[in-house]
């Protein structure tokens, strides 16, 4: 199976940016983050001690509609949980995340937005990391579909997703917390439990006993999605600080 492709800090003018492409589902996302900035309107009246997270999802070919608003709501609540909005410079300011869908099939009006959620989440996370937004933890997300015969398919393509009986999007933090759980279709609780275990092993790799320890086995780290996020960030840091590392 071909793993996802991602790169960081591609845009010059944004504070942080990332592009993410998932070959299995075909989606390609470009994310940009600006933070901390002054929001045009005072939308922070409810929680003045914290930063306000704003998410915008822009489809490549049409204007954003109800489906995008729905996805933005899910993303905002999931990402809001890991942003440390009380760090220096962030209270009462805004954290604006813009996610543009630059490749892949359009999500038709009325279709499920779950298929694209993991790609959006990954692009948003990498862009926030690139903007040095203080985060309490990282996460990784995955999409699983259950077929008519009861098989669990990882990252189903848009056509496979349409044929699936149920679709499940999961996000697990680097400390193995369940961060996001969205499902559509008909399924039983036993199925959901199986899917959750599968998703956890995809995100964390085979070793589920570690609690986000730094010294992860190199072999297992590359197989899991969390390991992929770590490698992407490390590569960018190494290339940015090449001048410093050369002299050591």
């Amino acid at each position: 199976m071909v793993g996802p492709i991602a790169s960081l800090s591609q845009l010059n003018r944004a504070d942080g940016s990332a592009s993410y492409k998932c070959p299995a589902t075909g989606y390609s996302i470009l994310g940009a983050v600006n933070a901390p900035i002054e929001l045009p309107a005072r939308r922070d009246a409810l929680k003045p001690e914290e930063a306000t997270v704003e998410v915008f999802v822009k489809p490549g070919t049409t204007t954003a509609g109800v489906g995008e608003r729905y996805a933005e709501g899910i993303l905002r609540s999931a990402l809001g949980k890991i942003v440390l909005g009380r760090e220096k410079g962030f209270p009462r300011r805004g954290l604006v995340i813009t996610l543009t869908i630059v490749g892949g099939e359009n999500v038709e009006r009325g279709d499920s937005y779950l298929t694209i959620l993991p790609a959006l989440l990954h692009a948003a996370l990498l862009a926030m990391v690139s903007a040095s937004v203080p985060l309490s933890m990282t996460f990784s997300a995955t999409l699983l579909g259950v077929t008519k015969s009861g098989d669990i398919v990882r990252d189903p393509s848009p056509t496979a997703a349409k044929a699936a009986v149920s679709l499940h999007a999961f996000a697990f933090s680097s400390k193995n917390h369940l961060l996001l759980n969205e499902s559509v279709g008909r399924f039983e609780f036993d199925t959901w439990e199986l899917v959750r275990e599968r998703a956890l092993s995809i995100c964390q790799g085979a070793t589920t006993s570690t609690d986000g320890d730094v010294t992860m086995g190199e072999g297992t780290a590359s197989a899991s999605l969390n390991g992929f996020i770590r490698e992407t960030v490390e590569d960018q840091i190494y290339s940015d600080y090449a001048y410093k590392l050369d002299s050591i």
């Binding site: 010059n12 410079g89 050591i248």
Partner: protein
């Protein structure tokens, strides 16, 4: 020196990477926080990262900090030198822009060297000042205050004050920090500091044209002035700005920086 260690948010700083100097307390730089876990035998303290970055320690000053991505936004910190642009002026303050899309920073009308009610600089919209961050305030929505004098001496130390003539170029905040480190330690050592030779190279090549003057703001701005260069002043300014920006954007190595300087100066017909 141990192998370079990259931390992601929620990663713990390994104990063996911390400096072992115990004469003064350990100081945490940006991107790190201390978490306390109550356990059966007292509380347990761990240092965790809140940003992704390269862990660096300074044994002499007993500090540990994270070097984060260079393209990040500048967050005002007390005692940083910044280049601010005047947005408008009110009775007591100049309202200055330090970073785009953030609230204006305040610069007192009298916080200049030797300023009094009668002899204060009349700065207009768009003019530049080299200032120091005096305070960032407490709590949410606090205002950032700038000053152009050292409050202890009343003098404009380190070239603080209005910047006249010249031109400002935008660079990344990481590049600005590198330039500041390079210039502060260049007195005894003109070799590559932090892998940066572009400035010393430009200095050598442009000496015949009268040299140049630069000021680096922590907020990712570089002011360049070379009014000594007479008729080629504009060309020299642009050339310096281009060298700095390209070094920054392409993350050039030292030998590439030298090549770039030669190429740009030849392109602009400054040095044959």
């Amino acid at each position: 020196m141990s192998a370079p260690l990259v931390l992601l948010p929620s990663d713990e700083v390994p104990k063996d990477h911390l400096p072992t100097n115990s004469s003064n307390p350990l100081r945490l730089g940006p991107g790190l926080r201390i978490l306390s876990q109550p356990s059966s035998k007292g509380t347990n303290h761990v240092l965790t990262a809140t940003q992704a970055g390269l862990l660096t320690t300074d044994a002499k000053r007993n500090t540990v900090s994270l070097l984060s991505f260079p393209n990040r936004r500048y967050i005002p910190t007390v005692n940083d030198f910044v280049i601010a642009q005047i947005h408008h002026s009110s009775v007591d303050f100049f309202h200055c822009m330090v970073t785009p899309h953030t609230a204006h920073a305040l610069l007192g009308q009298l916080s200049f060297e030797g300023a009094s009610k009668k002899t204060r600089p009349m700065l207009k919209q768009g003019e530049l000042v080299y200032a120091r961050v005096q305070s960032v305030g407490l709590g949410a929505g606090a205002e950032v205050e700038l000053t152009c004098v050292n409050p202890a001496t009343g003098k404009a130390d380190g070239g603080l004050g209005p910047l006249t003539a010249g031109m400002v170029f935008d660079v990344s905040t990481g590049m600005a920090a590198r330039l500041i480190r390079a210039s502060s330690s260049s007195a005894e050592n003109t070799d590559a500091i932090d892998g940066l030779v572009v400035l010393s190279e430009l200095g050598k090549k442009l000496e015949s044209l009268g040299g140049f003057e630069i000021a680096v703001g922590r907020n990712g701005k570089v002011w360049v002035d070379c009014s000594n260069a007479a008729e080629s002043a504009v060309k020299v300014t642009i050339a310096i700005g281009r060298c700095l920006q390209e070094t920054d954007q392409q993350n050039l190595h030292t030998h590439d920086q030298k090549k770039l300087v030669t190429k740009i100066l030849r392109d602009m017909k400054l040095v044959s």
